[in-house]
Amino acid sequence: MNRRVLLFLPLLGFIGLAVFFYYGLGQDPSYRDSALMTREFPAFEASTLEDPERQVDESLLTGAITLVNVWGEWCPACKQEMPQLLDLADRGIRMVGINYRDTREKGREFLDEFGNPFEVNIFDPEGDLGFDLGVYGAPETFLVDAQGVIRYHHTGYISPEDVRNTLLPEVEKWR
């Protein structure tokens, strides 16, 4: 009898494995949370895209809840998500851009063409700030609360559904 039970062990092991496989099917293996979640926005010092003379630092992101969007003129998905970002700005959410790995000229042209939802754009031509934020591709969007803590992170294109279903509720949650 004892041995018969033992013979069922491989079957049980396989069933356990199959449960994990089934779970894995529903998941996107490339999706990951940012490592900076619930941490303070990294310290930085940079000029703005608009005005090379103006220096900003992390204090820019305290005081009010802010959506920080990392974008570049070279990034096609950034162009596509601009209408959604303009919509978010219209709803009174403070938007700050990080112009990532771009030139001033191209960045400005981009804003002229696709609209500018941002209160200010941090100019990050070498991608240093992007690196400290763990950005590995644009667009990426971070929600920073009034204390300057990162509360939510979105990788890639923001669709109108994303605005309604995740971004707006998250903003409400941390306001």
Partner: protein, 156 residues
């Protein structure tokens, strides 16, 4: 002739092959130990953007940035652990091909080690059992038959 041509075709395939472009950077190292460390570090970090490649193999821009950062931190005299921590703080544990030993990874290292110990134990137990089996391989009945056979042979 046909065979020669076939072999030539095969070899020419071997001589030049396309590879996905990967960054080849010129880096100066004052000290070969540091160069070794650079190679080990970049080989054991996973590109966060690519499918499954180490940053030293990948041509993604982020991998180039990460290689550059590793190089700079090495030049600043940081230790391997400090550099690893620096990268994990930004990109998460995901980038480590060699997962750290912590609560959630105890089993990852523990199960194989337990299996090696358990496997050794199993060999000992099985062989000991089988040794006894060989000692009593013949039942009383079989022994009787064997004796009978031997006796018959003797008597003939």
């Amino acid at each position: 002739m046909a065979l020669t041509r076939c072999i030539t075709a095969l070899v020419s395939v071997l001589l030049s092959v396309s590879v996905m472009a990967a960054g080849i950077e010129l880096r100066e190292f004052d000290d070969p130990v540091m160069e070794e460390r650079y190679k080990d570090l970049t080989a054991s970090m996973r590109c966060p953007l690519c499918e499954n490649q180490a940053i030293d193999d990948s041509d993604a821009p982020i991998s180039a940035d990460m290689r550059e950062r590793v190089y700079r931190l090495l030049q600043d005299g940081q230790s391997d652990i400090e550099i690893t921590n620096h990268m994990v703080a930004r990109f998460g544990d995901y980038i480590l091909y060699n997962p750290r030993l912590e609560n959630r990874t105890y089993l990852l290292w523990g199960i194989p080690i337990a299996l090696i110990v358990g496997g050794g134990l199993m060999v000992v137990l099985i062989v000991r059992a089988r040794r006894n089996a060989s000692a009593t391989a013949l039942s009383a009945e079989e022994q009787a038959r064997l004796n009978e056979l031997i006796n018959r042979e003797r008597s003939s």
